[in-house]
Amino acid sequence: MASVVHTKPTPSFQSIVLALQVFWAKRGCTILQPYDMEVGAGTFHPGTLLRALGPEPWACAYVQPSRRPTDGRYGDNPNRLQHYYQFQVLLKPSPNEAQNLYIESLSDIGIDPRAHDLRFVEDDWESPTLGAWGLGWEVWCDGMEITQFTYFQQIGGIDCAPVSVELTYGLERLAMHIQGVDNVFDIDFNGAGVSYGEIFHQSEREFSISNFQYSNVKTLSRHFEDAEQECWVLLRGGLLFPAYDQCMKASHCFNLLDARGVLSVPERAAYISRVRGIVRACCEAWLSRRQTRQRA
């Protein structure tokens, strides 16, 4: 294989994150912190999911640890993790120069667009649990998918107007590509001798065992039921944000159940539609509260 030649020192994982935060802060994004709950993707963060609805302009960026129990591989697979990081940007309304801004951001983390092959390859995004869909691309850098780029059309079954654009950088993939490593655990995390594997290898292994072997189907289904119930109760009490927390909880319980491989196709569909139901109710509550806020 051809050797990779870098002119600048190779950025560490954390310096990639820092550079992205600085880049997007300079472009007017509010830098949020990760949401403190287990979620499957950065889209669940209320800073994206709720704020992408309604007419107010909004721009934010944040790192979000994401959990996909089914992708666990006991730390044995060089590319798959059940816990990983997304760097998420949301711009509402989507600016005309969204693609150019994104490309500029890559220069800041060591990907010179004139030295690489960057491609916007069709990828329509749909999340049945969130009742959401959008059109966009996966961005390829030399054949590696490094970012999801999506113009939200609907969330919680509600039309997005104006339309937001969501950029989701897969931080591990980006770091592997930039650092030229073949195994995610070999990523240089801090530029001073700490590797990704040192921090996460053991937890990957343990969470895989826990998710695939220990997690208890009965307990999880009960947790799901409880979260769903709680969500409706809180919504009736007019407590939107606590209610939305329960959506994330329910969604994660469903993901854990899915990882146990015990759900039949119709059961799976039924769980998805139940999560969609509470997410939708929260989105509607968010929009109606917006109107009250405006009147106040």
Binding site: S94, N96, E122, L135, G143, V163
Partner: protein, 687 residues
């Protein structure tokens, strides 16, 4: 004459939508202009790249022609208010209106001269309405726009006679400016004429014509391959897809590690195609080479070294995954994976894949009875293994390898050739253009699979309707029909359908005819493509009684041939004459039916008697011929009726005053129709 250029520059358009978008743009703009009398389709050209859809029309006149338009109004006897309303709506007086006789009576007509208008003005209207109503299968909004397009529009170039046509859409105002390649020449430049435009784009690293990009990719790929002593595995659809991903194709050669080459080559090629859109290469001895070609969209200072390294790393990781699947799948015999089908849902209401295989075994046994060349034990083994690979890791990851992996795994387990080939071939033909398997075991499994699926969805009442066919049932019917026709299979479909339905617990009474209708509809389309006349096909297929597609097909062939002969023409005329008389009488007297037997004692005239006796002879030999499926003979026999019919019409007065005589003569004619109807419905044939 002046030239029109339209370029819609947007963010990246999905490769698979590009060609249709360009065609639609041309069609809609040209038909919009045609409404104003500008017939330009012959001078219109379209081009498409990942970021632009372009329409160029040479030789557009400056003005659209004046046209006379006419509008039909109310009937002359319509109410006064309707008539006055019509005059008013069209701005004419009673004197200016014209009264014309039509087959439905006399009507007022308003005639208006429409003055020609400036083409530039027309273009603005036509383009704007085309963009607003563009028939995307899926489109999107962006920013604060209400309009939609396939991806956000960034620029519109719209020029007529070197001047900007001030089109406006989705917040974008048209200009005379375009821009080049996203990375290599991201600068705007003004445009005057198409030949300069194309040239400027080329200088700005954009090849406008997709066909030229395909050609370039092919030449680059073949050049690189030849230099390495290799050949490119040609894949036209992949070339076309890649051409839709790049504006400036630059093909690069990468390596893969040799130790991956012991995975089946279909797997390697699929990994390359699915994940990287990469092209595979062959060594001189036709084995897969440890290389791949990737088509990048850019030129770099290091001649693509970084790009190659990146692609190699990604492919390496994907192949490592595939290799792991191959090794894990190989730990167990294919049978073992087959046992896991109890956990795979075929359809929520139709059970698991294991249930499906169970039904297919019983159904295939019945189909095999009609196929002496398909030995039952082999058919049964093949069915048992046909779906087993769906439970393997490899097919889970790459669904397009279904059947292909099963074939490898069964071969490795020592299955016989008929069996492992059937595992791969039972999915084929994949569609209209794919070739049809002919090995009896494969055909038998393929047919049982499709019929089981069709019956299942028919029982759920999930028949395809209109454009809705989520389970691809029409394709199952089409390919099932091809399996039968192309292999000349004599299968009694009603029997097979009923058997298949009985294997579903909840079947109840199954309407075999509704499913047969779908098969005969496909057969109809198939025969039409072969050039058989529509009416001749209808004359044979429409009764829906015969469930043997091969027999139907040979009957159509015989009839098509016969109807072209002089005998055929004459018989058809005789039939038409006889039937029109019978029908007229039946219509006159609704109670009358002339199906009753002819009363021989009432046949007085010799022409009557001659026709009757010929009818008896012909009926017998025609029935024999039909039974023996000698349809040519049957038709030739029928043509012996023509002479006695003609004589009958010449010599016998049907409208006898004696009503019993008249009825008896009509019965005689009616029976001519009946015997001819045993071969085909001649009434459907146009003369």
């Amino acid at each position: 004459m002046p030239e029109f250029i339209l370029e819609i520059l947007s963010e990246e358009i999905p490769s698979c939508s590009q060609k249709r978008a360009a065609d639609d743009l041309k069609r809609l703009v040209c038909s919009g202009l045609a409404l104003s009398g500008l017939i330009v389709a012959d001078h219109a050209l379209t081009f498409v790249t990942p970021r632009r859809i372009v329409l160029v029309i040479a030789d557009l006149p400056m003005f659209s022609p004046s046209m006379r338009k006419e509008r039909r109004g109310p009937h002359v006897n319509a109410s006064l208010s309707a008539i006055e309303g019509f005059f008013k709506a069209n701005g004419i007086t009673r004197a200016q209106a014209e009264i014309r006789q039509t087959p439905k009576g006399a009507f007022y007509f308003a005639l208006m001269d429409q003055k020609g208008s400036m083409t530039a003005t027309l273009l603005k209207q036509v383009v704007e309405s085309t963009l607003a109503d563009f028939p995307w299968s899926r489109s999107m909004r962006w920013g604060s726009t209400h309009e939609s397009w396939i991806r956000p529009i960034r620029r519109i170039l719209c020029l007529f006679e070197e001047r900007t046509v001030p089109v406006q859409f989705a917040g974008v105002k048209a200009s005379n400016v375009s821009e080049g390649h996203r990375f290599l020449a991201p600068v705007a430049f003004p445009v005057r004429a198409f030949r300069f435009y194309e040239e400027s784009l080329r200088n700005a690293y954009v090849i406008l014509d997709p066909a030229e990009r395909v050609k370039r990719i092919r030449e680059q790929a073949e050049g690189i391959a030849a230099a390495e002593g290799l050949t490119v595995i040609s894949d036209d659809s992949l070339f076309a897809e890649i051409a839709g991903l790049v504006e400036w194709p630059v093909t690069l050669l990468g390596k893969i590690e040799k130790n991956f080459l012991n995975i089946p080559k279909e797997v390697i090629m699929t990994v390359m195609r699915v994940h990287q859109k990469a092209l595979a290469l062959l060594e001189a001895d036709d084995t897969l080479a440890p290389n791949f070609l990737v088509v990048s969209n850019t030129e770099t200072a290091d001649n693509g070294q970084l790009i190659i390294a990146g692609n190699e790393r990604v492919l390496q990781a994907r192949l490592a995954d595939a290799k792991l699947f191959w090794e894990q799948d190989s730990c167990q015999p294919l049978r073992h994976w087959g046992n896991k089908l109890t956990e795979c849902i075929f359809h929520a209401r139709l059970g698991t894949l294991a249930d499906k295989v169970g039904r297919m075994r019983k159904l295939a046994a019945v189909v095999a009875e009609c196929m002496p060349a398909a030995p039952l034990p082999l058919v049964d083994q093949a069915v048992l293994l046909a779906k087993a690979d769906l439970a393997t890791g490899m097919v889970g990851e790459f669904p397009e390898l279904q059947g292909i992996m099963g074939r490898y795994y069964a071969w490795r387990d020592g299955a016989v050739q008929e069996v492992y080939n059937a595992i791969a071939e039972h999915y084929r033909p994949l569609g209209q253009s794919d070739s049809c398997p002919s090995a009896p075991v494969s055909v038998c499994v393929a047919l049982a699979d499709r019929i089981d699926t069709l019956i299942g969805f028919w029982i759920l009442d999930e028949k395809p309707t209109g454009s809705k066919d989520p389970f691809a049932l029409r394709r199952a019917v089409l390919t099932g029909m091809r399996l039968i026709i192309e292999n000349g299979l004599r299968v009694p479909l009603f029997v097979i359908f009923r058997k298949a339905a009985s294997l579903y617990r909840s079947a109840g009474v199954f309407d075999v005819r509704s499913l047969l209708r779908f098969f005969t509809d496909r057969l109809k389309a198939h025969l039409q493509e072969k050039g058989v006349r529509h009416d001749i096909i209808a004359a044979v297929l429409e009764s829906g009684e015969d469930d043997d597609l091969v027999r139907l097909s040979s009957r159509v062939d015989a009839l098509a041939h016969f109807i072209e002969t002089q005998d055929g023409m004459n018989l058809l005329i005789a039939h038409r004459r006889a039937m029109s008389i019978v029908r007229r009488e039946e219509n006159k007297n609704r109670l009358a039916s002339y199906r009753e037997p002819v009363d021989v004692t009432l046949l007085g005239e010799s022409a009557e008697r001659a026709l009757e006796s010929q009818l008896v002879t012909v009926t017998k030999s025609c029935n024999d011929a039909v039974k023996a499926e000698r349809f040519d003979d049957a038709l030739r026999t029928l043509s012996q009726l023509r002479a006695p019919i003609d004589t009958f019409f010449e010599c016998v007065k049907i409208n006898s005053d004696n009503s019993r005589l008249k009825e008896n003569r009509l019965r005689l004619l009616s029976h001519v129709g009946t015997v001819m109807g045993t071969v085909a419905d001649f009434a459907k044939i146009k003369g």
